[in-house]
């Protein structure tokens, strides 16, 4: 186990009707807030009205910014920064899924910064201050509600880049599983793939003596696997929705990654795909992850045997552990297909004519490698994309 610091101070307020507490919680931090959201669904569901009322009842003044979209764009972030400065905003309340929250976090670090906010995502600067962010979550997927991460797409150059800094962990996250009842099946499945990917990125590690976090990861994966079918069958299954929502949050607050190096190559590769093609992040991960596994499993067959056995209940073939390892990967792929996700790039509408471009962008022309478990050059990334064809 490696040395680590773990500090996850986000206050989780979980359960039925918890969005009604948004006013009181927000008022603990500020009197003037930016209410940030995406498209029409929060209005259609009535959530928008309930949250506005809760804020007003608590004496909180509201400035609004809607329009955050999947793979959130830098353009809107810049608008948000300007708006916050103009109106003297003290706090951002994000109502939505990971894209809205990531957008809110970008605005939060941009407001007190004199340079271009993209500097933080491009690695040119590290944020020193941020407005506090609160969250009302409507999509269990990105885990952004309690993570220190934000991913933004620069629409000028089709670059999708992440920022990770403790400063942007939300101060509170309100999670009502009922708010996820109306999530379409495909988005539900994409969310599940995203949650599983966050866990698997941490699971595949070279760090030894990580039994506790291994088992926590396995707990999270098994819970998602056994609940997603229930949710797809009955979108109003409160218990199953709650399992997915709470697992999705813990999966990415980094408890599961404590004391161990993660991999994260699949996320890097997927960011190149969805940066260009604007596919759902979870769908991209469902395609990339099994391909990545097929490319790297020989690096540590026993870890893939453990994955197959403990997560997928595959009996271990002690004469041929490699067969067990491959069966685990197959089960993952079949699971993704069974919940309606694509498992090849053509199913995503991604052709092979830009593989080289994506592979090179992913490693910035081989100026670094990607992945902690196996260090990948651009030629490796290219091979993985070919395996996903």
């Amino acid at each position: 186990m490696d040395n680590f610091v773990f500090h996850s101070p986000t206050k989780i307020i979980f359960g039925k009707d918890t969005e009604l507490q948004a006013g009181g919680e927000t008022a603990l931090h500020a009197k003037k807030v930016l209410l940030h959201y995406g498209g029409g669904s929060v209005k259609k569901s009535g959530l928008y009205d309930r949250v506005k009322k809760a804020l007003s009842d608590a004496g909180v003044e509201i400035v609004e910014l809607g329009g955050a979209q999947p793979n959130p764009r830098l353009k809107l972030v810049k608008e948000g920064i300007a708006l916050c400065r103009e109106k003297g905003i003290e706090f951002i309340l994000a109502v939505g899924g990971g894209s809205v929250i990531d957008s809110a976090k970008a605005i939060a670090v941009g407001v007190p910064y004199s340079g271009e906010v993209w500097d933080f995502y491009d690695g040119k600067a590290v944020p020193q201050n941020a407005l506090p962010v609160g969250v009302i979550l409507t999509i269990p997927a990105a885990g952004s509600e309690s993570s220190p991460s934000s991913v933004i797409t620069n629409d000028d150059g089709a670059f999708k880049r992440g920022l990770t800094v403790e400063l942007i962990r939300p101060v509170f996250a309100i999670m009502n599983p009922v708010l996820t009842f109306t999530l379409p099946a495909y988005q539900t499945a994409c969310g599940a793939a995203d949650i599983m990917a966050h866990i698997m990125e941490r699971y595949f590690t070279n760090t030894t003596h990580v039994e506790f976090t291994d088992r926590l990861c396995e707990a999270g994966l098994k819970t998602i696997i056994s609940n997603v079918h229930d949710v797809l069958k009955n979108p109003e299954d409160y218990g199953a929705r709650a399992e997915v929502m709470w697992t999705g949050s813990v999966a990415h607050n980094d408890l599961f990654g404590t004391g161990r190096e993660g991999d994260w190559a699949s996320h890097m590769i997927e960011h190149e795909i969805s940066g260009i093609y604007d596919v759902a992040h979870g769908a991209g991960l469902a395609v990339v992850f099994p391909a990545w596994m097929k490319y790297v499993y020989r690096h540590n067959v026993q870890r893939f045997v453990q994955f197959a056995n403990r997560v997928w209940n595959v009996d271990i073939d002690h004469e041929n552990p490699e067969r067990t390892a491959l069966e685990g990967i197959n089960r993952l792929e079949r699971f993704f297909a069974s919940i309606g996700l694509p498992v090849t790039l053509p199913q995503l509408g991604v052709k092979d004519d830009r593989f080289d471009e994506m592979a090179k962008k992913c490693t910035r022309n081989d100026s670094f490698t990607v992945g902690g478990f196996v260090k990948l050059k651009s030629s490796d990334v290219h091979e993985i994309l070919k395996l996903a064809k």
Copy 2:
């Protein structure tokens, strides 16, 4: 799953040499601190000197209070409160195990309170303020380093009582597994039993649809079970010590209890035993828990079957699930015995002449029942004590 609030903001600083960060971390909160510890072991090990130097180097002024003992006493807490007031202390740094930390928490709530600190433990008042507490942990067991709980024994009346309030969660917890290398085998085993008990108190619940937290609990239990023998065989096995230490902390920060009612009867019963007999809390739990299980398992045989199967790898006897349930309890009991713990009250030196007194004190003469999973009257507690004979 029930509604819940989960807020565990303790900053965990984990790994080798982390105690050297005590000065910098403390200085973030205060310039004048009470350094609270127990007996001679922190001095003998050199930890005391290293911590004092770290504090001095960071410009932190130190007032000392040693002498905290297992089942920490109200008398020392009162001394600590007087000392803090006299010296204008702003922060308490506890160096030791759960007893030292619990004692520090009691001092922390007592300092700003005009009444008797025992009021908080006796349920007569709720603390509104507290000095912040930081921790350097030397014994993985009580989980007090990141929990909102403190247990104190009133030496006047042999009453052992707990306080749980968010205000007393430590602001930071420094955990270096190397500091646990010198822990004697018996204390190591008692710690393991305490950690397992914290998990099992949450595991046995009537709340439905709690798969995620069930599996987290199972992850914790399996990790302790598989690492304790390694630690006892080789006390300087860093990896195994680290697994036990980190599991012990997460086991009691209440993540594992989110969204579910716990039981806690075994803790209540054990408190009556160790309140009178001054036995190690973990040893008392090793005796009480299997007895409690034998008394209550019929309330939900399937939950005990799950416990036997998932935690102890017992094959399920589908024709006779009760047999599987009982085998799980047997395995737990045998495990405790295998790590050198008592599993009967006579082994603890506890005779049956005060069973009635303990049973009545536990329920305050049947003014309430104890336990969430099964509600126990004093006559039930008496029966459980008899089963532990």
